[in-house]
């Protein structure tokens, strides 16, 4: 198992360097002179030259990337915002807890709603409940998060006046954005739980458990669910990563000061170091979540453990 963990962690390193390279290259190729963006249009040529030399912008491309990577890894420095002039990392660290809280809250909702619905759908396959659940799951998958967010605001904030339409500081304020963000994940978790459960309840060992006279509730909730949930765990991990990036739109609708909103504002003001830092930060978080999911998967699935024994 330790061999697997070490291998998986080592595999993450080239991936993260690759992500940093992609993000750096993409924004390196963006037209515009960073020195002029920082110093403004009135800056003299000598001031611009001095800035380029100080920041290493006059170095060859690969040297610049090397410097960027070195500073990011050893000093946690991923540049300075053109607009606020503050370090990108400190801006992101202020915003990230909002994004993380939003994604985590949405994930909890997705699991609490999706898993029971999927199980009941599988147990009562082809019933009205199953049909309705699958129709709602399909609608949930097709509904844009930004539209659902607006519909929730119209209903719960404008008409019923039950919940606030913006912010993320109180529990009430967290409900609408989290539900809007969770909708697609609820649908995916429901569908995955249902199909995984349907596969498992036809397995031989379930028939054996039933033929031993085991109570149906124990067969379903103890024997079947344990194995049926293995692929669901993987899906939840992947979904959590997508929720982190999906939060960009949700934050924009509900005026939540998270990383997504920071990035959208940065793109509009052409604050490229902030965009670069934001993409890199979320991609690294996504990769780490994927790593943790793989490790969790290996932990709960004895077949993977056996391979590395």
């Amino acid at each position: 198992m330790i061999r697997y963990i070490v291998r998986r962690v080592l595999f993450l390193i080239p991936v993260l360097v690759g992500v940093a390279f992609c993000v750096f290259t993409l924004l390196y190729l963006t037209p515009g002179d960073p020195a002029r963006m920082v110093l403004g249009d009135l800056a003299t040529e000598s001031a611009l030259q001095e800035f380029r030399a100080k920041e290493g912008l006059d170095q060859p491309y690969l040297v610049q990337f090397g410097n960027y990577l070195y500073k990011a890894v050893f000093h946690g420095d991923i540049g300075r915002s053109y607009v606020t002039k503050r370090p990108v990392m400190s801006e992101i660290l202020v915003a990230f807890p909002y994004t993380l809280k939003l994604a985590a809250f949405a994930m909890v909702i997705a699991i609490l709603v999706g898993v029971p619905c999927g199980i009941l759908s599988a147990i009562k396959q082809y019933s009205i409940f199953d049909t309705l659940t699958m129709i709602f799951a399909m609608i949930g998958l097709s509904m844009p998060v930004f539209w659902l967010g607006l519909l929730l605001i119209i209903l719960f904030s404008v008409h019923l006046r039950w919940l606030p339409s913006s912010g993320f500081d109180t529990f009430q304020a967290m409900i609408l954005p989290s539900v809007a963000l969770a909708a697609q994940s609820i649908s995916m978790v429901t569908r995955m739980t249902r199909s995984s459960m349907l596969e498992v309840i036809r397995a031989d060992y379930i028939r054996t458990a039933r033929s031993k006279g085991q109570k149906e509730s124990i067969v379903i909730w103890v024997h079947a669910l344990r194995n049926a949930l293995i692929p669901v765990v993987t899906l939840c991990g992947l979904q959590f990563g997508h929720l982190l990036s999906g939060a960009i739109l949700t934050e924009s609708i509900f005026a939540i000061p998270g990383v997504g909103r920071l990035m959208v504002d940065a793109i509009k003001t052409r604050d490229y170091p902030m965009v670069q830092g934001g993409v890199l930060f979320v991609a690294v978080a996504f990769s780490i979540v994927n790593l943790l999911v793989d490790l969790l998967y290996a932990y709960i699935d004895p077949r993977i453990k056996a391979q590395y024994r």
């Binding site: 993260l16 963006t30 844009p144 930004f146 119209i154 990036s245 993409v279 991609a283 996504f286």
Partner: protein, 295 residues
């Protein structure tokens, strides 16, 4: 899959048509897939003939008819500039389908090529291409599209490129796995034995026999591309006003959400129905193209 492959490989054009007929026959048995197909055909019709069927201009402002509720003259009401919402939705179908199909076309071309080369040659080429795809896959698709748009700037063409490129790894993986399952088969060896060049083997023998998963992924991919593009336009990074893109229409209407919710209701509904239809069609095609579900 293998049955499919052998059937296509050992038969001529006539049987290929009958295979298509059989797929359509199976597709017809799924009411949801037929609903999806009908909606997609209606949308394509709207996109092609928007100039004829739209009751008003999509861009003509009429400040004496701002924020009108649905009426006989304006079936879905008017927006903040007095423009007819129905006409803008009809023209919006043109934009959305264009973005969806072209973005998938870009993803399919680049991803398909990389996947085919990777799967066919194997070894270090496969390893190299797939590691790059792993890197791209570790950036969430929406985020990658946002980063590309940030670099290229907003606009229709850039939006299609961003959404297309961000989907490349998905297609590369699917095509690669299809190619891997086919490349060791006898008819490929036979083609190699008679001296067919690699490019001909890939284009004439391997890709046509890997079509089933590619068709399914492309149908679902159009839905996801439309959704991604609408999301980017919603946050102001996609198509710019006054061109009527559904996501941009939603974004424009959100500031009037308290008093005029119809400004956001209809564009959202249009996106949802389109995505739903494409998902139903994609699911239906997956079942129809799966030889294991035959009969």
């Amino acid at each position: 899959m293998n049955e499919n492959v052998e059937m296509v490989a050992t038969t001529g054009g006539r049987k290929t048509r009958s295979q298509l007929g059989e797929v359509l026959f199976r597709l017809r048995k799924s009411p949801l897939a037929m609903f999806g197909l009908a909606v997609v055909l209606i949308l394509i019709f709207c996109a092609l003939f928007a100039d004829v069927i739209a009751p008003h201009s999509y861009s003509k402002q009429n400040l004496s008819h701002m924020f009108e509720a649905p009426s006989r003259q304006y079936l879905l009401g008017t927006d903040e500039f007095g423009r007819d919402i129905l006409s803008r939705l009809i023209y919006g179908a043109r934009v959305s389908l264009q973005v969806g199909f072209i973005a998938v076309g870009i993803a399919l071309f680049v991803g398909g090529l990389l996947g085919a080369v990777s799967g066919y040659y194997g070894g270090w080429i496969d390893n190299g291409i797939m590691r790059v795809m792993d890197v791209l896959l570790s950036i969430p698709q929406t985020l990658l599209a946002i980063a590309i748009v940030a670099a290229l700037g907003p606009g229709l063409m850039n939006l299609m490129i961003a959404v297309g490129i961000s989907a490349v790894p998905n297609y590369a993986r699917i095509v690669r796995s299809s190619v891997l399952s086919i490349r060791g088969m006898e008819f490929i060896e036979a083609a190699r034995a008679v001296g067919s060049p690699d490019i001909r083997i890939i284009l004439k023998h391997i890709l046509p026999n890997s079509m089933a998963p590619i068709i399914v992924q492309s149908t679902l991919g159009v839905a996801s591309a439309i959704l991604n593009a609408a999301g980017l336009s919603f946050i102001g990074l996609g198509i710019q006003p006054p061109y009527p893109e559904w996501g941009a229409m939603l974004s424009g209407g959100r500031q009037y959400i308290r008093d005029y919710p119809h400004l956001t209701l209809y564009p959202g509904l249009a996106i949802m129905i389109t995505i739903l239809a494409l998902n139903f069609l994609g699911d239906g095609l997956r079942d129809a193209l799966d030889p294991k579900l035959k009969r």
